[in-house]
């Protein structure tokens, strides 16, 4: 559900409402049931349900019970609350950003030994960005559930109309800026690019991609100081300023995702978005390309994880199911049904992969992007939500023309250094 408090407080409420309601685990002679909490809807929900049914059919003594958690936005709070009420799910789908909070709780299972000791699990088959998102302080706490990344999605007809050559894999920031300027016509309510400007992580992660493209980093290697207030960070901010304030070629989305309608109606030329949006663009002949680059064509990925909770007897059956769920053939089946990207490199070598690409032509570039350009990741530290808030405000202020890039960076740096010092 999109209601925010719903998400958060549902979970907290479970903390208060103890044993009154029965949980999901049944018993029967020798049958164990494991519960999996997820926020899947539509195609993804159908796909996972049919996979679970398949598993249950083949494993009558190890049943899996899927429970819709009311929406992934609240999954973290709901999970935390379940720790207190005692009705913890065995497996939970969690945002990658939740891992540091959850890793601190004793109910969250450390999977390092399981991962390393399970024959044929092939941990390195998962993409580096995913593995990074499962690891906190060197220990593995999750198994990749979803991976995505940002790529350049553009409207071919608009490019044709303005006689601009399609973006290439070698596009520079200047190419990108010029194209946006030519595509834009604010008086006619047409824009060259859309940037989500609601000050949340949706804003921040796009800036991080720019920062990395300029060769910069968010934090110092030891993670104790900010490193983004650098020439690279400034260049990234400056580009945003130039495009949004000087050129006025950018549509600033307020978070209501109006950009989807606008792109679909041919009023925005280019987006930086992920595979999840492609299904909404039924009116547009779109192309997908790497993001423009400066030092690199870095992109950013937002992987999510399946995590195991609660020790005891359920751990083995839960791991068995999870292992099966993320095995190459099974996941490729899921990906083909939903359009989600493969989470293992080996999936791209399976015979079914060409059918997957045929069904979702845009995903080829997303996959290449993932392997080639998703090299850096956001730090898995507890302070990240606060850091994100500070950066979000900084980026917003530059995009709205309320602050100069250097000033915004300096202010953000001071605040973030304070946050890091207070750790």
């Amino acid at each position: 559900m999109r209601h925010p408090i719903v998400a958060g407080l549902t979970g907290l409420v479970l903390a208060a409402a103890a044993a009154a309601c029965s949980g999901g685990s049944s018993s029967g002679s020798g049958t164990s049931t494991i519960t999996l909490w997820h926020g899947y809807t539509d195609a993804e929900a159908k796909a996972i349900t049919s996979l679970a049914q398949k598993w249950n059919g083949e494993h009558p003594k190890q049943q899996v019970h899927l429970i819709f958690n009311g929406g992934n936005d609240g999954a973290l709070q709901k999970t935390l609350a379940s720790f207190v009420s005692g009705k913890t799910p065995n497996i939970g789908y969690e945002y990658g950003s939740s891992i540091t909070t959850l890793a601190q709780r004793h109910q969250t299972q450390d999977l390092t030994s399981l991962v390393n000791s399970t024959a044929g699990f092939n941990w390195n088959d998962f993409f580096p960005a995913e593995r990074q998102a499962t690891t906190v302080n060197g220990k593995i706490y999750g198994v990749p559930a979803l991976v995505d990344n940002l790529a350049l999605v553009y409207n071919k007809k608009l490019f044709d109309a303005k006689h601009i050559p399609y973006p290439t894999a070698n596009w520079t920031w200047d190419d990108f800026r010029n194209a946006a300027r030519k595509l834009a016509d604010p008086a006619a309510k047409k824009y060259g690019w859309s940037f989500t400007n609601d000050g949340t992580e949706d804003t921040v992660w796009r800036y991080l991609a720019l920062l990395w493209q300029a060769g910069g980093d968010l934090l110092s290697p030891d993670g104790h100081k900010s490193a983004f207030d650098s020439p690279a960070g400034l260049q990234a901010m400056q580009l945003l300023h130039d495009m949004a304030v000087t050129d006025k070629s950018v549509y600033l989305d307020t978070g209501d995702q109006q950009y989807q309608q606008l792109f679909n109606s041919g009023r925005i030329g280019m987006l930086w978005t992920g595979p999840w949006d492609l299904g909404s663009f039924d009116q547009v002949q779109y192309g997908v390309q790497f993001l423009p680059g400066k030092v690199t064509h870095a992109t950013i990925s937002g992987p999510d994880n399946y995590m195991l909770f609660g020790a005891g007897g359920k751990k083995q059956p839960a791991w068995a199911f999870l292992q099966w769920l993320v095995s190459p053939q099974v996941h490729l089946e899921f990906a083909t049904a939903t359009g989600d990207l493969p989470i293992r490199q080996s999936e791209t070598k399976l015979p079914g992969y060409s059918a997957f690409l045929a069904k979702y032509p845009g995903n080829k570039v997303f996959m290449d992007n993932l392997t080639t350009n998703a090299t850096k990741a956001r730090p898995n530290i507890p302070q990240y939500p606060k850091i994100s808030q500070v950066l979000g405000v900084a980026v917003q202020s530059v995009l709205l023309g309320k602050a100069q890039p250097q000033a915004a960076l300096d202010s953000a740096r001071d605040q973030i250094d304070q946050i890091l010092a207070g750790a």
Binding site: P4, I5, G8, Q77, L80, G199, T254, Q396, L400
Partner: protein, 312 residues
């Protein structure tokens, strides 16, 4: 005749109130207990619990540790808290009077005998049944700075376009506009009912005395609307100072904290930063502010009712 006698009786009343007898005390408690008991049982304990929570350091799911006034000290030194308090007060000071000032004339309008009045009343009532999500989406679209129709119309008329939700200087006012729109129906219903409750005899008497319609309104109906106004003043303030939903579905406290009102800041602390004790401290602050403002308003309301009765 009866009206004149009643007026004189009222004056006597206002001048020398009867001393309360024990039967009155019993009656008072008897009448109020059922409702009050239910309300206190489920309403008061949680309020007290919030006070308890505010002296702890807890993430709301693990047991907390007692920290005394640490959260309050943190609050006093937190510039964002003071910013959110300022935004909340600014918002309320605009939202409440504007709603009141618009609601009364509309209620009077809807009290006239005009054909199709039911349709008009329904129209004013409709915002109350429009979900917050839908309202947020619609206003976000209408007031969209770059592609919204309002700016489209403004520019066609040669007027300057507005930044609305995207402009830190205008965002809060845009939220005021959105919520006034949403609450007008409620205030109008209250005033309409109050107007309907005016005994026709009083208006007839005024007519007999030679009052014009307008003077009759001023002398008869307006004073009888004081309780309704007092109610709305308190009710709208309580709700105004607890603004949250509309901010969440439009601006998420932005841009640049321009719409971070107290309860939004509280939500942030509780469910993003997991600082339950701090959130509770903010909750206590909100409570105290509302309590203070309400007491003042009730006091004024009582004084005005007293005077209006005396002058009748």
């Amino acid at each position: 005749m009866a009206v004149l006698t009643a007026e004189r009786r009222n004056e006597r009343h206002a001048r020398a109130p009867r001393r309360a007898r024990s039967a009155d005390h019993i009656a008072g408690w008897a009448f109020t207990s059922p409702a009050v008991l239910l309300i206190f049982l489920f309403g008061l304990v949680p309020v007290l619990w919030t006070f308890w929570l505010s002296v702890q350091d807890t993430d709301l799911t693990s047991p907390g540790t007692f920290v005394g006034s640490a959260k309050y000290r943190q609050m006093i030194h937190d510039p964002l808290f003071w910013r959110s308090a300022r935004e909340s007060l600014l918002y309320t000071v605009l939202f409440v009077p504007i709603t009141l000032v618009l609601a009364l004339p509309i209620a009077v309008l809807l009290n006239q005998r005009v054909r199709g009045m039911l349709i008009y009343r329904m129209a004013v009532y409709v915002p109350l049944v429009t979900s917050t999500v839908a309202t947020g989406v619609i206003f976000s679209y209408l007031l969209n700075e770059q592609v919204g129709p309002v700016n489209g119309v403004l520019s066609k008329l040669g007027l300057p376009e507005g930044g609305f939700f995207q402009d830190p200087g205008q965002a809060l006012f845009s939220v005021v506009g959105m919520t006034v729109w949403g609450w007008l129906g409620f205030a109008v219903i209250i005033y309409l009912a109050a107007l309907q409750n005016v005994p026709p005899e009083l208006l007839e008497a005024a007519a007999l005395d030679g009052c014009t319609r307008f003077r009759a309104f001023l002398k008869v109906e307006l004073p009888l609307l004081f309780p309704a106004t007092s109610f709305l003043l308190v009710w709208l303030t309580i709700n105004g100072l607890q603004l949250f939903d509309e901010v969440y579905v439009t601006t998420k406290g932005g841009p640049l904290h321009a719409t971070t009102v107290l309860v939004y800041y509280l939500y942030d602390q509780a469910l993003v930063n997991f600082d339950g004790g701090y959130a509770a401290a903010i909750g206590v602050a909100v409570f105290l502010v509302i309590l203070l403002v309400t007491l003042v308003q009730l006091r004024i309301g009582r004084r005005m009712s007293y005077e209006s009765e005396a002058s009748r």
